[in-house]
């Protein structure tokens, strides 16, 4: 601190005189001051996140009873039990179905929305397009249970608007949440409604980073319309495509509240009908808190953890070949 040296004759009011007890205390504390300030945050994160992360491994390899009494080492027993359970495999299939629909649908729809809104925003200087953007984004910040409930009503086979509309086209509209075939699509529609605005905003941010002169240059060369999108805009957008893919994968793999509520969690434990919407998150929840199998639930969590890690690595590797602009 050069400034400090210049201003050597500091006012005597600053600090305690040298070698007084207060001064010595301050001296002793100074190297620790940083840690004192970091401590509250560090404490919370260690106790509620890092300790559980370690505990996850311990519980998964023990026959664990809540409180610890009567627990014993289990080796891979929990995993063996899991792998022998058809429901476990089915939950992976259901989760896969959910994720494999949600991620591509999210990518296409949110990018389309962003392209649609981009012109409006640029042209009207964020007035008209801004309002449309706000309306599309708003669902993302709404509480999942509160807004799931109105969708339960919308999807009601008898009184819901969805089927009021569909009856104009078919005499046999689906039973939505009461049907093993249509419950998951209904949940997917809700989830898209809730999240598309968020991903759209990410794409809008990505689009605003593309210099106008590039699109302009392409236009001069005669490249316009969809060709301009495919050859100029999309290649420049691949970093955002990567970001949205990763975030959408992580978020859909872990979806819980809307699936729980839409599949009737309040009346049973969610995941119905006939386990057709029991994703890994729901099965973990039920295994631990309905059936009190903490070890099995923990082993499943560990597998979920591993799958997420693997997917992230694969996506990173895949996109490292694809993203040529950062």
């Amino acid at each position: 601190m050069t400034v400090l040296e210049v201003a050597e004759p500091v006012s005597p009011l600053v600090g305690a005189p040298p070698s007084s007890p207060a001064h010595r205390l301050r001296r002793a504390v100074r190297p620790l001051a940083g840690y004192l300030l970091v401590l509250p945050a560090l404490g919370v994160l260690i106790v509620f996140y890092y300790v559980p992360a370690l505990l996850l491994f311990v519980i998964s390899f023990f026959h664990y009873h809540l409180g610890g009494a009567g627990s014993s080492f289990a080796g891979f027993d929990n995993f063996r039990v899991l792998f022998a359970q058809p429901l476990f495999w089915q939950s992976l299939v259901v989760t896969g179905y959910y994720v494999l629909v949600m991620v591509p649908a999210t990518l296409v729809a949110s990018l389309a929305l962003a392209m649609l809104l981009r012109d409006g925003i640029r042209r009207s200087r964020r007035r008209k397009g801004g309002a449309a953007q706000a309306l599309i984004f708003l669902p993302h910040v709404t509480p999942l249970v509160a807004t799931s409930l109105v969708w339960v009503y919308i999807f009601d086979p008898q009184y819901g608007v969805a089927n009021d509309v569909l009856r104009a086209f078919t005499s046999h509209p689906p039973n939505w949440l009461f049907s093993t075939h249509y419950a998951m699509p209904a949940i997917e529609i809700y989830s898209l409604w809730h999240s598309l605005g968020f991903y759209m905003v990410l794409f809008l941010a990505g689009l605003s980073n593309i210099p106008d002169r590039l699109v302009e240059a392409a236009r001069v060369e005669g490249v316009r319309g969809f060709a301009a999108f495919r050859r100029v805009i999309f290649p420049l957008l691949t970093p955002t495509v990567y970001l949205v893919t990763v975030l959408a994968t992580v978020n859909t793999m872990q979806a819980f509240s809307q699936i729980y509520t839409l599949s009737g969690g309040a009346h049973g434990h969610g995941g119905g009908p006939a386990y057709s919407t029991t994703t890994d998150a729901l099965l973990i929840y039920q295994t631990a808190f309905t059936y009190n199998h903490f070890s099995l639930a923990s082993a499943m969590s560990l597998i979920l953890f591993a799958i997420l890690l693997l997917l992230t690595l694969v996506q990173r590797w895949g996109f490292s070949k694809l993203v040529f602009y950062r």
């Binding site: 919370v44 559980p52 599309i136 608007v161 968020f198 973990i284």
Partner: protein, 291 residues
């Protein structure tokens, strides 16, 4: 610029006929508003359902305009513990926001301005929780809370969220961008580190404070799975959990939608006021941190 061209068509290239272009543009505008209406519809439908006359939710054709019947709200507020749940959520959210501001600003400040041995390690530990998938941690977190005797308390809905990696990151970034000369001047003026943080750095970091408040508000007000798992006592239930229990009672759609609207209202009001800031805050954190 010719005076006959309307303001909206100013940047149209001269090569194209203005009529076709205008048609295309109004078509796009219609699409845009159609999309916006589609997304707004469910929220509108809550309002229509909640304010219609009793029993109208089960009639065909459905009412498509909101009514003026606010009896459902009165019924719900008088007939249930709704005020209590609102209060619970307000208390939990308010306390969490204050604590997050405190822990995150202190930690962010220490990371930038104070001597910290192993700064790199501390930094990684403070930000690393963003990589931990929350669903995978739920079971061991329940076990930890059990051993800390936190289950079924307000504290279990507050303490674990009293520090978040993203808010620490936001504060650190902002403090790091502030000119170090300020600090030197403040030191000469005899302002200690903490007082400098409180009097100078935090007021200057208002945008970050605002962002952290909004993000914490949304996350805390909307929490559902956590209280569902960690609490059983209805007296301390936050609003989302209470909604879930209310649904259990097979109430009419009119009442359920009235209650949902009440749960939604604070979020929508805050969004109406700070819409642009919320959009950039929510999108900014997730995309900025991912890098």
């Amino acid at each position: 610029m010719s005076p006959t061209v309307t303001a909206t068509a100013v940047d149209a290239p001269p090569a194209r006929r203005p009529g076709r272009r205008r048609l295309r543009r109004s078509g796009l505008a219609a699409l845009r508003w159609g999309a916006a209406a589609l997304f707004a519809f469910p929220l509108y439908w809550m309002w229509v359902t909640a304010t219609g006359p009793k029993g109208s939710a089960y009639r065909f054709p459905p009412r498509i305009l909101p009514g003026l019947d606010y009896q459902a709200f009165v019924t719900v507020i008088q007939g249930t513990n709704w005020a209590r749940y609102m209060l619970n959520s307000t208390f939990i959210t308010g306390t969490t926001i204050l604590l997050v501001l405190l822990t995150a600003s202190l930690a962010g400040w220490a990371l930038v301005a104070l001597p910290l041995k192993f700064r790199g390690v501390v930094f990684i530990v403070l930000l690393g929780t963003m990589l931990l998938p929350e669903q995978a941690l739920l079971i061991p977190q329940y076990v930890v809370n059990y051993h800390l005797h936190l289950l079924n308390t307000y504290a279990v809905m507050i303490l674990p969220f009293a520090a978040t990696s993203s808010s620490i990151f936001l504060f650190r970034q902002y403090f790091a961008s502030m000119p170090t000369e300020w600090r030197d001047v403040a030191r000469i003026e005899g302002l200690g580190n903490l007082r400098y943080l409180w009097r100078v750095a935090l007021p200057a970091a208002k945008p970050v404070v605002f962002t952290v408040v909004l993000l914490t508000f949304i996350a805390s007000w909307n929490q559902f799975q956590w209280p569902l798992v960690m609490t059983q006592n209805p007296a301390i239930a936050p609003i989302e959990l209470a909604l879930n229990q209310y649904q259990q009672s097979y109430e009419s759609q009119r009442l359920i939608n009235a209650v949902s609207l009440l749960a939604l209202l604070p979020i929508v009001l805050v969004f109406a006021v700070a819409q642009r800031h919320i959009v950039s805050a929510v999108a900014g954190v997730d995309s900025g941190v991912e890098e």
